[in-house]
Amino acid sequence: MAVNTERVDIIVADRDVFAGDEAAMAKPDGPLAAVLLAAGIGSFALGLITTLAEASSGFRDRLVLNAGVGPLSGKTIWATVIFLVAWAVLAARLRNRDGLLRSATTIFVVLTVLGLLGTFPIFFQAFAPE
């Protein structure tokens, strides 16, 4: 019984030291907010480009960066470029900022839902010319 008590004491002490160490390592949430916002922006861009390509054949033709892949090549490359550029810009601007996660999450959710809507066929096909 005495052995068990001693063992519990050791674990609790170890955990307390670790918790104190980790508490001192608090990090600003700006970098996570940056990548979160960039993912929302990239998703929204993909949905917007997909819908615009359906509405305009001229725009769709300009998205053909590879003949085999067709317009999907431009849609995915441009959306990914927008995601990466947004991430780089936001990461530089928000690097040391904190307390942004709640608002960044709200914006991320809105943009991602709009992106999902824009990539949903029943939605974007509604914009196709008659």
Binding site: F18, A38, T112
Partner: protein, 177 residues
């Protein structure tokens, strides 16, 4: 018994990379959910974080490779245009589906959704991997961040799941020659 180049790449894309992402999800989810200081010892948190970092980064890389191989290797075969007057369309899945009234929906809805929505998965998986690596052991003491990453992780899985499901169903409706 042999695989053609086309079958091999379809296998790498769907059964290799895509399935790996979906199967690894359960392990990642359990890792995030159980990352609580009140449940783990110091050594347990260190071990769990190391595994979570590697797992989420590998999943993000796999998600990118899945959409890249799907779009740039497999998709051109799917949308290849048959020669004028061709009546045997089995080698041209897009046209095979569109030529059959009861199969056309697999392209017009299924493939159209899959080919676009799949690209959202690597964006989301990148957020999760970055969050896990950036916070490291601190993640165990940030329940709000952990909950956020869990939900983004679930969204990445759901999006990849839609793409994977339609990929399998479309392959069944228009099998490769």
């Amino acid at each position: 018994m042999e695989l053609s180049n086309r079958e091999l790449w379809t296998l790498i894309h769907g059964m290799g990379l895509g399935a790996l992402f979906l199967l690894a999800f359960a392990g990642g989810l359990a890792g995030f959910y159980s990352l609580r200081p009140e449940w783990l010892t110091t050594a347990g948190i260190r071990e769990r974080i190391a595994r979570l970092d590697v797992g989420t980064v590998v999943m993000a890389v796999v998600a990118w490779l899945t959409v890249i191989t799907g779009t740039w290797v497999v998709y051109p075969w799917y949308r290849a245009r048959p020669p004028e007057g061709a009546t045997e369309l089995e080698a041209y899945p897009r046209y095979f589906l569109l030529a059959n009234e009861h199969l056309a929906g697999w392209h017009e809805f299924g493939m159209e959704w899959k080919e676009h929505v799949a690209w959202i998965a690597p964006y989301l998986a990148t957020v999760v991997a970055f969050g896990a690596v950036y916070y490291g052991r601190r993640l165990a003491y940030e329940p709000a961040v952990r909950r956020l990453l869990i939900w983004v992780f679930v969204a990445a899985f759901a999006v990849a799941g839609i793409a994977g499901l339609f990929g399998a169903l479309i392959t069944k409706a228009a099998p490769s020659p």
